[in-house]
Symmetry: C2
Subunit: 424 residues, 2 copies
């Protein structure tokens, strides 16, 4: 363990040193390095899939649940998406050096805020190996060094991807030490990482509620809280029924294992009979378990073969990450907003309505990172929002909220250009 | 103590409730409330000065040092400045509701980031009573409730100012509970405050190094680090001599007790004989103690009557907050930048130069909240930079850096306007 802690320390020092160089590397060199990562992944597809196969076999042996194995699995097609992400990030403008809030003061001083990298980003994540490349690419483009600590289930995939990235960027003239990966899976190393406030400028956890809580409790440096989405869709009585059913269905079944999937469906009492009947018919086939309050159950259980059960108190406020939805009938927009206020996690909440005032009130009063009108909550995603990818989805209000892309990995410095001004 | 802790808890609950109302109050009502504060201070000038007189007498009796008494003292003129600050803040645009980074995605979704208040701001500050009004005004305008905990030396002044503010805003239709002041001076209350992460969204300490360290170590909520300025002025060999002397002199003597005052003067060896001779002549009269390295001492001690002594190692990296300056002769810009990197606190650092490349390198390579060319470091100030006032000067890179005004007291939410979009 001592050796591993020493190794962590030395990797952190390497990262710091590399971050100082990276902060001053030109956009074109960074972009060349990003293209090199994309090419490297394409060239080493077989090697990556073999490493992933090892992880999958070990996962099977360890009895990993189906959804976790799904998240872990790479394929030629998913590697293609990863490469596309990298190329999308490459094509985005470099945030570093951009100057904003520029002003000329009455005394002639020219002030502006110039975007600068944060320094060293630490990321602790679980399972999905694409995160390794998404985060390494976003950090590189924004001029930050990164220390990656992935889950033990994806160790072979992650280390292979990180090695290919390091080799690729080095050929492009970027110090490979800017991408550090921790290969030990000892949990104590995470505690050590959380204490390294002098080496890590921002800590980003991506994973389970437990991980997020642990980081919130133990991290000595600024840390992002996020990733836990107890997401709501509210179907207003004025909603277009077809649209409402499509959005609620999409929010639940298009990818139930991710944070922006719908957990609780709130339905206005006057539209509930038709909306819930249609959804129950869809979900009977796709196999969504419906945990219903009394009134909703009375509607859904009339659909033959549906998997509808009474909701328990714990279901409100649960992030299911599975083909399960809690369903509640409400009598008003007020009741819906108040339910979200009590049970939501401030992640992604949507309303389906044709009523202008209800839409505006929902946008105003629901205090979440992303609030949507007539759209699926699944759009809360860096890629979807044009950020190329995301390092995390923050439910913090400090520093960044919602999907975090390049800009959210930067700080700024005030620059002041004078001609001899002194203060009276 | 139990009663006081209960009181803190109930004030925090009141603040939270008020923050929810305040977040939705219109700009015009907030501005009316701010004008009411300004009028209230003008109408109660005598009462405020009497309360301040009590604090000053108690301070004298307690043997408070001269600079501390200076910072504590209010006058008709300083109250006039406070009122002017409030009116300047009133005149600034309301940051709440502003939508930025607006885009229409290819699928037709309209996304934007809408600025929202943070919620409840906790501020722990020492001495200067004007901070009470500056912070209450900035928080009000940005839609945040505030819990103020001032120093015991200024208790009467602060509570009087807070009471006048509460009474004033109430008449304007803003809940007075949005401005809370803690009247107990028990240090344990600060510890209690630092544990209230569910009640306070952002904690801002303004005061001594000890306070800042305590907050960094104990705060359970996001906290700003800042206020400690070990500020440098570097006089390059190409500097305009007259300008250099004026800037260094202004940075030191115009207000030596504040965080943006110069602490260490770095002078290029080739301009040192003339620059230090002129400064020594000025500082002999104004009474600045010069703590010099060997080469600087050899120059300054030739000026009769000057207070020049050898610098100790501890002087580099000290925030003097007094009429003291550390002085070091360097052989190059590199040496100056490296010295700032080692001993600076990332607050305010200035170069005086006529050389374009040196100016650009200084701006690029000095990693401070505010970097200045040919201007006094004393300009690092919210008022000077057009923010109306400031809640703090952050040396954090997370969330906000440099002087924090209205915008830095906000977060944002993503709003998404759809027409039935679902994700593939």
């Amino acid at each position: 363990m001592t050796t591993e802690l020493d190794e962590l320390g030395s990797k952190a020092r390497e990262a710091r040193k590399a971050s100082l160089k990276l902060a001053r590397i030109s956009s074109s060199v960074k972009d060349r390095a990003l293209h090199a990562i994309a090419n490297g992944i394409e060239e080493h597809t077989e090697e990556i899939l073999e490493a992933n196969e090892e992880d999958l076999s070990a996962g099977h042996l360890a009895g990993l649940a189906g959804p976790l194995l799904n998240r872990l699995a790479l394929s030629k097609s998913s590697l293609g998406s990863i490469v596309a992400d990298v190329r999308r990030i490459t094509a985005l403008p470099d945030p570093v050096g951009e100057t904003f809030d520029f002003q000329v003061l009455s005394n002639g001083l020219r002030t502006g805020k110039r975007r600068v990298p944060l320094g060293v980003i630490g990321v602790i994540y679980e399972s999905r190996p694409n995160v390794t490349i998404d985060i390494a690419s976003l950090c590189l483009k924004s001029g930050n060094a990164v220390i990656l600590r992935g889950g033990k289930e994806a160790l072979n995939s992650n280390t292979t991807l990180a090695r290919i990235s390091r080799d690729s960027v080095e050929k492009a003239g970027v110090p490979p030490e800017a991408i550090q990966i921790i290969e030990s899976t000892d949990r104590e190393l995470v505690s050590q990482m959380l204490r390294m406030k002098d080496s890590i400028d921002l800590l980003i956890p991506r994973g389970s509620v437990d991980l997020i809580r642990r980081v919130a409790a133990e991290a000595t440096m600024p840390a992002i809280t996020g990733g836990v989405g107890v997401c709501h869709t509210y179907i207003d009585h004025t909603a277009n029924l077809e649209m409402a059913v499509a959005i609620a269905n999409n929010a639940k079944v298009s990818s139930p294992y991710v944070c922006n999937a719908m957990d609780t469906l709130l339905v206005h009492t006057s539209i509930a009979p038709t909306a819930l009947n249609q959804l129950a018919n869809l979900w009977r086939i796709s196999g969504v378990e419906m945990r219903c309050d009394d009134r909703a159950l009375a509607i859904t259980e009339q659909v033959k073969g549906v998997h509808a059960v009474p909701a328990s108190d714990a279901d409100w406020g649960t992030e299911f990450l599975s083909m399960t939805a809690a369903i509640k009938i409400v009598d008003s927009l007020d009741e819906a907003i108040s339910h979200i206020d009590i049970y939501g996690s401030g992640h992604s909440d949507a309303i389906v309505t044709e009523d202008y005032s209800s839409a505006m009130r929902f946008l105003d009063e629901v205090d979440s990172a992303v609030v949507l009108v007539n759209a699926s909550s699944r759009f809360n995603d860096g890629g979807q929002f044009g950020l190329g990818a995301e390092v995390a989805i923050s439910t913090n209000k400090i520093h960044a909220r919602g999907p975090m892309g390049l800009k959210e990995l930067t700080s700024y410095k005030w620059t002041v250009l004078g001609t001899g001004q002194v203060r009276e």
